[in-house]
């Protein structure tokens, strides 16, 4: 009996732990995923609610209406085609065909699910048709339209501009785009160009040389005195079975670290990553958000991938220069640039500026918050200097602006092993200015070299952003 009682006590403990686990898991998943479950396109309640409730407006940060409900109950979009298409992915569509657009992701507000019991009761008795909340986004539609116009010459791409102090997304555009007035035409056209995919948040690209920011951060963190080193670039680096070469066959000769970064020397960075080893490099990558399960409050961003399995030396060398199996979204790369600008602190990206109820009241909103500390302030400062040097005298010189110091890193990422296919052109950078806290990421699919294609686009977009007063 004594033993039996002892065993019963143990079983009670086991059951208690099971149920504590159940409760904890339930609370956790509801807290982090509840909103996403609700906003899923598979939720039949959203369509039901649309029959009874007038969907609220979506506006840009200046109050420009991006989507509204017309008198006939249909969704109406801006008259100007360019603007309509530039923000088409951010706004999304009410049927959830575009994954995680504001129309579905913020449906809780737009359809008035978040209105309190008093509002509901009042509506019930007054008999008025209910109206959802209006959502004001952080993006500037004019800036988006301008940015989108710069991508039209290419096959595809995305541009993201963030405020690196607050994390507010000022511009997010993806090309090819679609016309929300006639989304069916895009769906039925049969063109397989991914026009319905929001490349800014869901396009996973190899970051190419822009990943050198992370390799550099890892080296500064782990190798003492690396900043004072000089290295010899012979144009090639033989690893085990692979040979790391320079993008267009240059030989950089004897270079300081800053020069190696500014001129984007592959061999120096490949040998740095070999010296760091898999563990340290992947640790730094994860502190910059690679492999994180992004659970941002305002948007869904696809997780950046850094190979999780132990790599061989060949893979490791290529990872250090952002090739191989490393993948990231443009928005994430803009967050990384923002973290360097913000002394190593990465902000959570925000898309929702404010929410106004049908009666004109405003809902309490969650303030901006830090997503994570990506690196030490000293490391960020050194990389910032390198990135400024890149724009002053290196591969990013075409991003230089008058009056504002731009820091940046270019990249030309190989999308396939076939050398005849053009590389993806990248520019990732920021304005090093407290008055204009802007971080930017530009990717142009198969656009060619980052220095000649992406950097000028970045300069133009930043220029426009500064003129618009950001």
């Amino acid at each position: 009996m004594k033993k039996l009682r002892h065993n019963i006590r143990l079983l009670a403990l086991m059951l208690a732990l099971l149920f504590i686990g159940l409760g904890a898991y339930f609370s956790y998943s509801v807290y982090f995923y509840g909103g996403r479950w609700f906003a899923s396109a598979n939720n039949p309640r959203l369509n039901d609610q649309k029959q009874n409730v007038i969907t609220g407006d979506i506006m840009d940060r200046n109050g420009l209406v991006l989507a509204t409900t017309a008198a006939d109950g249909k969704r109406a979009y801006p008259r100007h085609t360019g603007m309509r298409q530039a923000v088409s992915h951010v706004v999304g569509d009410s049927r959830g065909i575009v994954a995680n657009g504001v129309e579905t992701f913020m449906a809780g507000y737009l359809l008035g699910f978040n209105s309190g019991i008093l509002d509901r009761a009042e509506r019930l008795f007054s008999g008025q048709p209910a109206r959802g909340d209006d959502v004001r986004l952080t993006i500037d539609a004019e800036l988006c339209e301008y940015a989108a116009s710069l991508l039209k010459r290419y096959q595809g791409g995305a541009i993201v501009v963030l405020n690196w102090k607050t994390g507010e997304v000022l511009c997010s555009t993806s090309y090819p785009d679609f016309d929300p007035r006639d989304i069916n035409a895009t769906m039925n056209s049969g063109a397989d160009n991914g026009a319905l995919v929001n490349r800014a948040t869901q396009g996973l690209y190899p970051p190419g040389s822009t990943f050198k920011i992370i390799t550099m951060a890892s080296a500064l963190d782990n190798i003492i005195g690396v900043a004072d080193r000089e290295a010899e670039c012979t144009g090639t680096l033989v690893v085990d079975r692979t040979t790391v070469t320079e993008a267009s066959g240059q030989v950089h000769g004897r270079v300081t670290m800053q020069q190696a970064f500014a001129r984007s020397c592959n061999t120096v960075f490949a040998s740095l990553s070999l010296e760091l080893g898999y563990n340290r490099l992947s640790q730094t990558a994860s502190s910059f958000g690679f492999g994180d399960n992004f659970l941002f409050r305002d948007m869904v961003v696809y997780n950046a991938q850094y190979p999780t399995t132990n790599q061989n030396k060949d893979d490791l060398a290529w990872s250090g220069v952002g090739q191989g199996r490393v993948l990231a979204t443009p928005l994430h790369m803009a967050m990384i640039a923002g973290a360097i600008a913000n002394d190593g602190v990465m902000m959570e990206p925000r898309l929702m500026l404010s929410v106004t109820t049908a009666k004109g009241g405003s809902r309490t909103l969650l303030p901006s918050r830090t997503y994570k500390r990506a690196c030490a302030a000293a490391v960020a400062q050194t990389i910032k200097n390198y990135m400024i040097a890149t724009v002053v005298s290196g591969t990013g010189s075409q991003a230089r602006m008058d009056g504002v110091t731009v820091a940046g890193k270019t990249g030309s990422a190989e999308a396939s092993d076939d050398k005849s296919i053009n590389t993806h052109a990248w520019f990732v950078g920021f304005a090093d200015s407290a008055e204009h806290p802007l971080a930017i990421a530009v990717v142009v699919e198969r656009g060619g070299a980052g220095s000649s294609v992406a950097a000028p686009i970045a300069r133009n977009v930043l220029n426009r952003a500064v003129t618009l007063g950001y």
Partner: protein
């Protein structure tokens, strides 16, 4: 110091005890009133929901009455644990209310079954106190149990990949594996309390193995899992034989892996659990709908009978917890989980107080079964573990399951009553001894 303390307490004992008892009675009254208020309000809401009024819902007015009768009459007469009876009647009432909101016909049927379950509860509770020798009965139960379990194989019908129920005239569909649960608990408690070691336990173990085999044959894997876990844990508690228990555990894992390889629908279940969204309109539909329902309910729910819970397949059985969360909110859902925990812990406390190992093991088995079944089905609905098609005790629609769960509660309350009787006998004896000079 210690002695003085003891003397002090002995002097105050009668007064204290009386106070404690009065306090408990007060708490019982309060809780009962709260439950009756809840059920009454729900009934009123359901009446008002109709257009203009849903007069059939007035039938649910029986619920508060049933709660009152079961707590103040049934529990008192049977000397059952008032707390357990109260929780059970609340959960049953909640099930009726939720089901009525989804489908009035099912709600009412559930209510009639609750009445039947009360009978089962009383019979089980009485039986424990009245019958002193369970050995012969258990041999009979073994034969009856195996025969019952084999019935669906002979004349049953297949639904959702499982062949585990039969149709009985007048009563309707009947799931023997649910009823045999009660047999299993009694048989295991009887044979596992044997003093002759593994030899004495053998009949119980063999019966469990036979049940498992038949259940596997019927592809009723969820129930098989319950039988298996309860048998294993009860065996360990009774014998403290860790090596054999571990062997049983390894065997179970092996069987699970074999089942995974053998049954296609087990494979799909695991794949769905890992990512239901990858096939949200196909195989993952159930779980995706359950999760969106939970997400839509939010903290406080959409309101009783509101929302669109009927979009969830199997809303009245496996996914009743998702319905609960959608209509009454996630906080309420967590509270209901808490109620189950209280039932289980109360049951384990009863098991600890029992005088004989038969009673102790019986109460342990009952608590384990209720606890594990709740955990496995709620865990499946919220995507903590792969979904197994079993019912949520008291809440899920399903006649046999409800009756059997209430029977199990009856066993538990019977043991509690036996404990109270034993304690009173002890006290009386102690008083008599004290009265002696």
């Amino acid at each position: 110091m210690a002695r003085r303390g003891r003397r002090h307490s002995r002097e105050e004992e009668p007064v204290k005890k009386k106070k404690k008892r009065a306090g408990r009675r007060n708490a019982t009254r309060m809780t009962l009133s709260a439950i009756m208020l809840f059920e009454g309000t729900a009934c009123l809401l359901l009446v008002l929901r109709g257009n203009p009024f849903d007069w059939t819902a007035i039938m649910l007015g029986l619920l508060p009455l049933m709660a009152w009768v079961s707590v103040l009459f049934l529990a008192k007469r049977l000397k059952a644990d008032a707390m357990l009876v109260m929780l059970m009647s609340f959960l049953c009432g909640l099930g009726v209310i939720l089901l009525y909101g989804l489908s009035p016909e099912r709600g009412l049927r559930h209510m009639w079954i609750v009445l039947g379950g009360m009978l089962m509860f009383s019979v089980c509770a009485m039986a424990i106190r009245v019958m002193k020798d369970w050995r012969g009965i258990c041999w009979f139960l073994i034969v009856a149990g195996v025969a019952l379990l084999l019935l669906p194989v002979a004349i049953g019908q297949e639904t959702f990949g499982a062949k585990n129920w039969i149709i009985i005239p007048l009563i309707g569909s009947f799931q023997p594996s649910e009823l045999v649960k009660i047999f299993l608990l009694l048989i295991l408690a009887q044979f596992f309390s044997s003093l002759r070691g593994i030899k004495g336990m053998l009949p119980g173990l063999l019966f469990a193995v036979a049940c498992l085999a038949t259940l596997m044959l019927q592809k009723d894997l969820g129930t098989a899992l319950m039988y298996y876990l309860v048998t294993l844990l009860m065996y360990w508690a009774a014998s403290s034989n860790l090596p054999l228990t571990l062997l049983g555990g390894v065997g179970g894992v092996g069987a699970a892996i074999m089942g995974y390889q053998m049954f296609a629908h087990v494979k799909t279940r695991v794949a769905i659990w890992r990512n239901p969204w990858s096939d949200a309109l196909g195989t993952g539909y159930q779980l995706v709908q359950a999760l969106t329902a939970i997400g839509s309910g939010g903290l406080f729910g959409l309101g009783l009978g509101m929302g669109k819970s009927r979009a969830i397949p199997a809303y009245s059985t496996d996914f009743i917890f998702a319905v609960l969360c959608e209509q009454l909110g996630i906080l309420f859902g967590l509270c209901v989980v808490g109620l189950y925990v209280i039932i289980v812990m109360r049951g384990l406390a009863i098991s600890l107080q029992a005088r004989t190992s038969f009673h102790s093991l019986l109460a342990l088995g009952c608590s384990l079964l209720i606890g594990l079944q709740t955990f496995v089905i709620i865990g499946g609905v919220i995507k903590l573990i792969p979904l197994t098609g079993i019912t949520l005790p008291f809440l899920s629609y399903g006649g046999t399951s409800l009756v059997s769960c209430m029977g199990i509660m009856g066993l538990l309350c019977g043991v509690a009553a036996q404990n109270a009787e034993d304690r009173e006998a002890d006290e009386r004896m102690a008083e008599e001894r004290e009265a002696l000079p």
